[in-house]
């Protein structure tokens, strides 16, 4: 079978280097126009007899509906439901990079975190306890220094393993009692719409609704409990 794996991460974390390493140029299929935000770049590679289709999503800091490229990434994950999302993180800028990771966790998709640029983190004097981080986030983590080629062989193994497992949903952001109650009320209403429940993670939908996310608002307006939902979030 072919696994579909998406590559995501902040800009300038070495995503392209990793993509080019996993899928050599000849096997890449690039979209039309260049520039900093590119249409998705795809490619196939084989590892241990399994075929993997790799899709390079635009580099973004978050996944809001306001920015075109972020919406592209988000829609891909929600609509295409890839077997795995590989989140590439700049180890020397952990806090900022983890924001995207947390957004991905909310999407309840399967994640493999790649801690890249660990050499730069070392230069900055950082020491990262990878096991602890992995445990707290609830997702597998692998370290690499893509520019030097370190860890890239192990990456292919990690991708296969992670793609075969199911998403862990332990790590959630706890928004505080009042907000969590609000979220649960919304989820109850959302549950009644079967189409929505099938397609999306309801908790994610609820949170997006609270954020008044444009795209989600549009989707909700067409659903059964539209008026009630809009009431709550206004």
């Amino acid at each position: 079978m072919t696994y579909t794996v998406a590559l995501i991460g902040n800009p300038n974390v070495g995503k392209s280097v990793i993509f080019n390493n996993l899928v050599p140029g000849a096997h890449q299929h690039v979209g039309n126009w260049p520039g900093k935000t590119v249409e998705k770049k795809e490619g196939k590679f084989t590892h241990k007899g399994k075929q993997i289709k790799l899709v390079d999503l635009p580099g973004t800091y978050s996944l809001t509906a306001a920015a075109e490229d972020e919406l592209i990434s988000r829609n891909f994950i929600v609509d295409e439901k890839p077997n795995l999302v590989v989140d590439i993180v700049d180890a020397s800028n952990l806090e900022r990079n983890l924001y995207l990771t947390y957004l991905l966790l909310e999407l309840e998709t399967n994640i493999l975190l790649v801690l890249n640029m660990t050499d730069i983190a070392e230069d900055k004097g950082y020491k990262i306890d990878v096991n602890k981080l992995s445990f707290q986030l609830g997702i597998p983590i692998i370290s690499t220094v893509a520019t030097k080629g370190t860890g890239l062989k192990e990456l292919k193994d990690a991708i296969l393993t992670a793609a075969n497992s199911s998403p862990q949903v332990n790590s959630k952001v706890y928004y505080g009692e009042k907000i969590e109650k609000l979220i649960n009320n919304i989820i109850v209403l959302l549950k009644k719409d079967h189409e929505l429940s099938q397609k999306y993670s309801l908790r994610w939908l609820a949170i997006k609704l609270l954020e008044k996310d444009e795209q989600i608002l549009d989707i909700i307006k067409k659903s059964k409990n539209a008026t009630e939902l809009l009431e709550i979030i206004s």
Partner: protein
């Protein structure tokens, strides 16, 4: 239970804060920050982001880029020029004199003139790729942000606008990285005023014919006028239909990276080839259309007032009469709608002359220097090319804005040219 009571006005911010809280807790337990060794990026930024020397350093780099692009490409441009002259020699072998002239001089001559410019275009894209890959352009965007903010523009608009000087199409696409909808729309609407590389041959042709030693200044002035109009238009849009302040510019400065030769060449190649393909297609299609229109109805003197192209030109001419454009120019402007470079081709065919020198002579004989300058301004400001319209539609996803863009550009172009003629006449030029 209402969300507003619990989350307040800005729900997004509250939720984001909660996420960051979680992140901080996690990071605290798994990350230890030791003492910081110096980093190359910080060292470089001390100068490039320095409040006194940051902007001058940028201009120095910009100048170096332009010197490289335009001066170093000259011998290669000469090579292309000579190649087409050689081709023209073959066209002269065509038995029918007039057809030979149209093809050899009008078309080969026009093509040769334009294609010379692919050399500096590739060089420019190469230089831009290096600046972009090194991470330097983000700094520039940051440095100019304050200034851009006062002009109602977002700091992130800087890079798309800079790319616009190479070609407007990737510039408009680069606007995708701008988050605010209004900010993005404004950037897309003013990008066409960045004088792209395709307009350059047209300026060179006209300025060379009319302004001799001051030709370079005339061409420079086009770039400046373009920027000026862009700024004014942006301010206007901000005050009227797209109100509001630009979104705050928060950017993460990436560490400087040594750009790789391979990477830069790849970027250059991608952009350059796309530009060529686009330009080539329009040039070819344009050539065929223009040529057909100039020799029909059959038997007429090609390019004369009796041919189809001549009739079109003469019908349109009254519109452009206040600007002092001849019917040949008016007709050519219609075709230049497809792509600016096509103007040279169509002028060549309509005036039935060989090479740029011939076209220049014909121009000098048919319009005044003042009108010539007005023509340059017109070419600067009206719709860059069909590809631009196509990409604006794609990026804005709205026929309304695309039409607005095209129409407003034509109007502004006409007004601009009119102002030039008006002021010039008043000054007695």
């Amino acid at each position: 239970m209402k969300a507003k009571e619990i989350l307040g006005e800005d729900a997004e911010l509250v939720l984001a804060d909660a996420r960051y809280d979680s992140i901080n807790k996690v990071v605290k337990t798994s990350l230890i920050k030791g003492e910081r060794k110096w980093s190359a990026s910080d060292l470089l930024d001390k100068v490039f982001l320095n409040k006194y020397v940051g902007i001058p350093a940028f201009f120095a780099l910009l100048w170096a880029v332009f010197q490289f692009t335009f001066k170093v490409s000259t011998p290669f441009m000469a090579m292309i020029d000579m190649f087409f002259k050689w081709l023209t020699g073959y066209a002269a072998l065509i038995p029918n004199d007039i057809v030979a002239s149209v093809i050899g001089d009008g078309i080969f001559g026009g093509l040769g003139f334009i294609l010379q410019f692919t050399v500096p275009i590739f060089f420019l894209f190469f230089a831009l790729a290096i600046l972009e890959d090194s991470g330097y352009l983000t700094r520039v965007a940051f440095v100019f942000d304050r200034l851009l903010f006062k002009l109602g523009l977002h700091g992130r608009s800087f890079i798309p606008m800079l790319i616009g000087f190479g070609c407007n199409v990737p510039a408009i696409m680069a606007a995708r990285s701008i988050e605010g909808k209004k900010d993005r729309l404004i950037t897309i609407l003013i990008a066409p005023f960045m004088s792209c590389a395709a307009r350059l041959p047209v300026y060179v042709l006209i300025a060379g014919a009319f302004f001799a030693t001051n030709a370079a200044t005339a061409v420079w002035s086009m770039y400046l006028i373009g920027i000026f109009v862009a700024i004014v238009f942006a301010l206007l849009l901000r005050k009227t239909i797209l109100r509001g302040d630009p979104a705050p510019f928060i950017v993460e400065l990436p560490t400087y990276k040594m750009p790789t030769l391979k990477g830069a060449v790849l970027h250059m190649w991608e952009r350059g080839v796309s530009f060529l393909k686009k330009a080539g297609t329009y040039l070819l299609v344009g050539a065929i259309i223009i040529w057909s229109l100039s020799v029909l109805p059959w038997g007429v003197t090609p390019g004369s007032g009796e041919s189809l192209i001549g009739m079109i030109g003469q019908t349109i001419q009254p519109v452009f009469a206040p600007l002092g454009f001849s019917w040949q120019i008016s007709g050519s402007l219609i075709f230049a709608f497809m792509a600016k470079e096509v103007l040279v081709e169509s002028l060549g065919v309509i005036y039935s002359v060989s090479s740029d020198v011939g076209i220049q002579a014909a121009l000098v004989n048919s319009i005044t220097p003042l009108s010539a300058y007005a023509l340059m301004v017109f070419m600067l400001l009206y719709v860059p090319c069909l590809a631009t319209i196509g990409v604006i539609k794609k990026e804005t996803n709205s026929w309304k804005w695309t039409a607005f863009s095209a129409v407003s550009q034509c109007v502004i172009a006409y007004l601009g040219a009119l102002i030039v003629v008006g002021v010039g006449t008043l000054l007695g030029l």
